[in-house]
Structures are given as C-alpha cells and as structure tokens.
C-alpha cells in the first residue's frame, strides 16, 4: 500500500532543472567574443572550489571569465530566480494566476525609487532602499485600488489596477528622468535593464536581499497551498491570512526591489517561469516555488546570452528579449485562465 502524501517537489524535476541551471551558467561563462570552451571553464570553476582539480584556463581567459562574465551570469541567475519566485509568491498570495512583479506595478515603483535615488545623488548603497520604498508603494496602491474596485481575486481587476499604477509610476519616473539632464544617460540605461555593466559589487549587494526573500517564500510553500482554498477556509484551518499574506508580499517585494535595483526593469519573468512549472510539473506551490527559483535563474541567464549574441557586438536590452517571448506567452496564459473561468 502506498502511503498518502502530497506530491510536493518531484525529485526528478528538481534534478533536471538544477542541471539546466548549471548548464546555462557554464554556457553563459563560455559564450562571448573570446572563445574559451565549456570544459576549461568547468575545470577552472572546480579548481576555484578547491577540489584539487587543475584549471585548464589561461590567465587572460581566466580574468575575462571570472571578472567580466561570472558576475554578469550570476547576477542574471539571481535576478531571474528572484523575479520568478516573487511572481509565484504574488500569484499564490493574491490567488491570481496573472500577477507578477511587473504587472502589479512593483517593478515600475522600484524603477521610480531607483531613478529618484540616482537623480537626487543618494549614496549608491541607498539605491536598493529607494527601490524598495517605491516598490512597496506601488504594491500597496495596486492592492488597494484593485480591492476597492472589484476584489483582488478578480483576475482582471487586479491586473487593471496594476496597469494603472504602472502607468502612473512610469509617467512620474519619465518626468523625473527628463527634469535631470545630467543623469539622463545613467537613468535611461538603468531603466532599460540588463547585465552589461554587472560587477561583483552588484552581486554582493543584491544577494543578501534576494537570498533572504527567497528563503522566506520557500518556507511558505505549503502555506501558499493552504491559501489556495481562499481566505475564509484558510482562516478556518488556523492560518492568520492577513499576516501571512503580508509576510509573503513583503518578502517578494523586498526581493523584487533588490533585483530591480541591480538590473533595471525586466518584464514577464515572473509570469513565464511559474506557469511553465505549472504546465510541466504541478500546480502545487510546493513544486512551483522551488522550481521557479531554479528555472527563473536559468531562464534569465539564457535570455541574457541571447541578448548579447543575437546582434553581436551590439547588445539588445534584455527586457526586450523577455518581453518578446513573454507577451505571446502571457496571451496564451490569459486564454487558458479565461477558459477555466
């Protein structure tokens, strides 16, 4: 007799997606104007880990790989993982399959905060804080607006509220940006998003926020399944719904703000990745949350590779690439969601 259990995270899928992540990281390290090949990089990575393996990468190549490409690839993985896990957290806590950090206005709010930090010449350490404040204001606005108009569980209403907030935040952001000609270039390249100027510093300042936020969301994966029963039933099962939702949304917002502050505005990752996991693996948040983190990382690393190789030596803004794939995907998700009622 088989024991009763929740499907949880199927081990096979976990391993497969981790393999995809590792593969895309190696690919990201190997691909560029200077060709190095994957195996020398793998050997160099293992030697860095102190496994007693001799690196077969030359000194110049080693600098290119570890000082230029590595921070870029790692930052893309961190940001992609964060946007995807935040998307799944918003979707679960608002019980709405179409919300993501971008559509809720979170990213636009973070962008406005970051823009103000740049134009007002705040110390660079305060940029994530400013991004977080902007992001929080945006989420709160979208939530309150959505609730007063038609309830947050109504897919359409919350999306429209998010779109409204995004439009407003973007307008203010553009206004601020145009008023400060001196920082125009800096702000513009920040908003377009991307990893072309990624440094180890970016990795170190965003990693703690992204790590902490991801851990909080991961710990709530079973609770997110309880929330799928609706506020009333989750309450009757002993969950303090308001407090729980607040914790999850704050965590997702902190992480999103950190991601936006080092990468700019990158849309659709929070929709594409969790839904791919839903379609492929399971609709339980026990599977969606951890797999979105891993697959989101891989997705953005691969997208970044595309962004810097398609028109090489010129680079496409990565937000353009994710939107190119994301918009049609969103349309498909919208259709299936509508059909399910």
């Amino acid at each position: 007799m088989t024991e009763i259990r929740a499907r949880g995270l199927p081990g096979g899928w976990g391993v497969a997606m981790l393999a995809v992540l590792v593969g895309s990281l190696l690919l990201g390290l190997a691909i560029g104007p200077v060709s190095t090949g994957v195996w020398p990089i793998a050997s160099s990575a293992l030697s860095h880990l102190g496994l007693g393996i001799h690196s077969r990468l030359g000194a110049t190549d080693s600098d290119i790989v570890w000082q230029l490409r590595a921070p870029r690839v790692l930052l893309a993985a961190l940001v992609g993982g964060m946007l995807a896990i935040a998307g799944s957290a918003y979707q679960g806590s608002f019980r709405n399959p179409l919300v993501d950090p971008y559509l809720l206005g979170t990213a636009a709010g973070a962008g406005l905060g970051a823009t103000l930090a740049i134009t007002e010449s705040l110390p660079s350490g305060l940029l994530p804080v400013a991004a977080f404040v902007g992001a929080s204001v945006a989420v709160a606005l979208a939530y309150v607006l959505g609730r007063t108009v038609g309830g947050v569980h109504s897919t359409a209403t919350l999306i429209l509220a998010g779109v409204t907030v995004t439009a407003f935040m973007t307008a203010v952001q553009t206004f601020v940006q145009q008023r400060h000609q001196a920082t125009l270039q800096e702000v513009y390249s920040f908003i377009l998003g991307g990893f072309s100027s990624a440094t180890w510093h970016d990795v170190w300042i965003s990693a703690p926020y992204i790590g902490a936020s991801s851990v909080v969301i991961l710990l709530h994966r079973r609770v997110l399944d309880v929330l799928s029963l609706g506020d009333e039933e989750a309450s009757s099962l002993g969950i303090d719904v308001r407090r729980t939702r607040l914790i999850i949304v704050v965590a997702a917002t902190v992480g999103t703000a950190a991601a936006v502050s080092v990468s700019g505005l990158i849309a659709f990752v929070g929709i594409i990745v969790p839904h791919t996991v839903r379609l492929l693996v399971s609709t339980s948040y026990r599977a969606i949350v951890p797999l979105a983190l891993v697959l989101g990382g891989a997705f953005l690393v691969l997208t970044d590779i595309l962004a810097r190789t398609i028109m090489s030596p010129a680079e496409l803004p990565i937000g353009v690439v994710t939107a190119f794939f994301g918009a049609p995907f969103f349309a498909v998700v919208l259709r299936t969601t509508r059909r399910l009622g």
Binding site: T2, E3, I4, R5, A6, R7, G8, L219, H220, R222, V223, D225, V226, S228, L229, G230, E232, E233, S235, S236, L237, G238, I239, D240, S282, T283, S284, L340
Partner: protein, 254 residues
C-alpha cells in the same frame, strides 16, 4: 459543548445576529433553519471565529474570541456551503490540508498527519481516489472529499453550511447518513444550516429556527415544526405530515 450568550453580529451597518443565546450539548446535532438572510451562515461563521461578534461564544468552556486561529481550528471544523476545491489538487493533497492546524506554521506534515489523512479518506471511502484530482470527481465524491478534509482536522465540533445543497435527493440522504455515522463514531458535535426542513427534522436532534438573526423556536422537530410557524417563517404555504415520529413538511400550492 457550545455555549452562545447574547451573541450579536453586525456586518457593516446591518445587525445580522441580535442577542442570540443557545447551547449545543457534546455529541448533539443541531439543525439551523430559517429563510435566506435569517443569519444561519453568519452564526456558523461567528462560532468558527471568522466574524467579529459581541457577547460570548465558548466551545468546551474555551472562548472563541480569546483563542488563536490555530486553537479555534483545532476545536472547530467548518465546511462552507461552496468550498473552494482547486481542480488540480489531488484528493490526498486536499485532505492533508485539513491537517494544517496540527502542523507548525512553516513545517511540512508529519507521518502522524499522513496517517490521520489516510484514516479520514478510508472512512469516507476515498482511499482509491487518493491520487485523483478534485476536478475529476462527481458532486457526491467531492462532498465526501470535503467531509474527509474536515474529519482529518480532528476537531470535536463540525459546522456544516448547507451540506446537501449541491446534491440530488439520494446523495442528500447518503451525505446526511454519513454525517450522522461520523458524529456517532467520533462523538462530534454537529451544527448544520439546512434548507430542507423535512431532512433537517429527521437527522438533527434539535432544531433552532432563526428569523432576522433571532431564535424564534428551539426544540425537537415534532414540537417546533408546525404549519403556522413554517408559513410565518418562510412565507410558504405547506402541509405537515406526521408519521412514526417523523415530520414531513410538504410545499403546497394555494
């Protein structure tokens, strides 16, 4: 045992329950009757601690308002009229969610929880359905899955809001028989809001008739169900048939 004293509930500006006092003995089944809007659902929600109320509600001597959400959930299982049943969730996963009050906030379920969920599924004849998604179940099967989730909660009080409203005549009787069996086997105290007056009279030990948030009659079916009272309460024209200690309320066109 459930003790309600001077319970009032306001939803917005409306007083939905007004100064209601009643008690339900341990192991007793009380049926709540009354027209739409009489306050049946609100009363159940108040007992489950889901709406603010004034007055006092206590289960086994413990105040609901003074208990945490988790403590209430260990005392009271609530089956809403239209439970949320995510189509892709399997029966096993759904029933396991009923263990939530026994699982630490951020923990996964333990072996004990899985055993309890399995016991509940077996009790409701759902063991072979464990890995079926909820979306593939019939109305009657779904109803049993919902009851299994409530049973897995292992709370001494079971609140049912219109438990048979989505079922056909035969399924209604089966569901109520099942509730009665569960009540006896697990010594549950049951309070159920019901539409069907005759069925309520046959299954519940005692009936509480509500009108505009107040108790207008409280007693066994044979005492409280009369033509005058039913027509006054529901604005319906009915005929009452008494047979072998049961009361049947038949709608009659005038």
């Amino acid at each position: 045992m459930i003790e309600l004293r001077d319970v009032s509930v306001k939803l917005g500006a409306n007083r939905v329950i007004g100064s209601l006092s009643a008690s339900v003995a341990s192991g007793e089944w009380v049926g709540l009757l009354g027209p739409n809007g009489a306050g049946k659902t609100t009363l159940l929600r108040a007992i489950a601690g889901l709406v603010r109320y004034s007055g006092s509600i206590a289960v086994e001597g413990r105040s609901i308002a003074g208990s945490s959400r988790r403590e209430v959930a260990r005392m009271i299982a609530l089956v809403p009229q239209k439970p949320e049943t995510p189509a892709e969730l399997t029966v096993a996963e759904y029933v396991l969610l009923g263990r939530t009050p026994h699982i630490a906030y951020l923990a996964a379920e333990s072996r004990d929880d899985r055993v309890a969920a399995e016991r509940a599924m077996r009790r409701l004849g759902l063991r072979d359905f464990a890995h079926r998604p909820l979306g593939s179940l019939s109305g009657g099967e779904l109803q049993r899955a919902v009851l299994a989730r409530a049973l897995a909660q292992e709370a001494p009080v079971l609140l049912l809001d219109e438990p048979t409203s989505a079922l056909d005549l035969g399924r209604q009787q089966q569901a109520l028989e099942l509730v009665d069996e569960l009540r006896r086997d697990h010594t549950l105290t049951v309070v159920s809001a019901m539409h069907d007056v005759s069925l309520a009279g046959q299954y519940a030990d005692r009936l509480l008739l509500l009108d505009a948030g107040e108790v207008v009659a409280d007693g066994v079916a044979t005492d409280v169900l009369s033509e005058e009272r039913i027509s006054a309460l529901y604005g319906a024209s009915v005929r009452i048939v008494r047979e072998n200690g049961s009361v049947f309320v038949l709608p009659k066109r005038t």
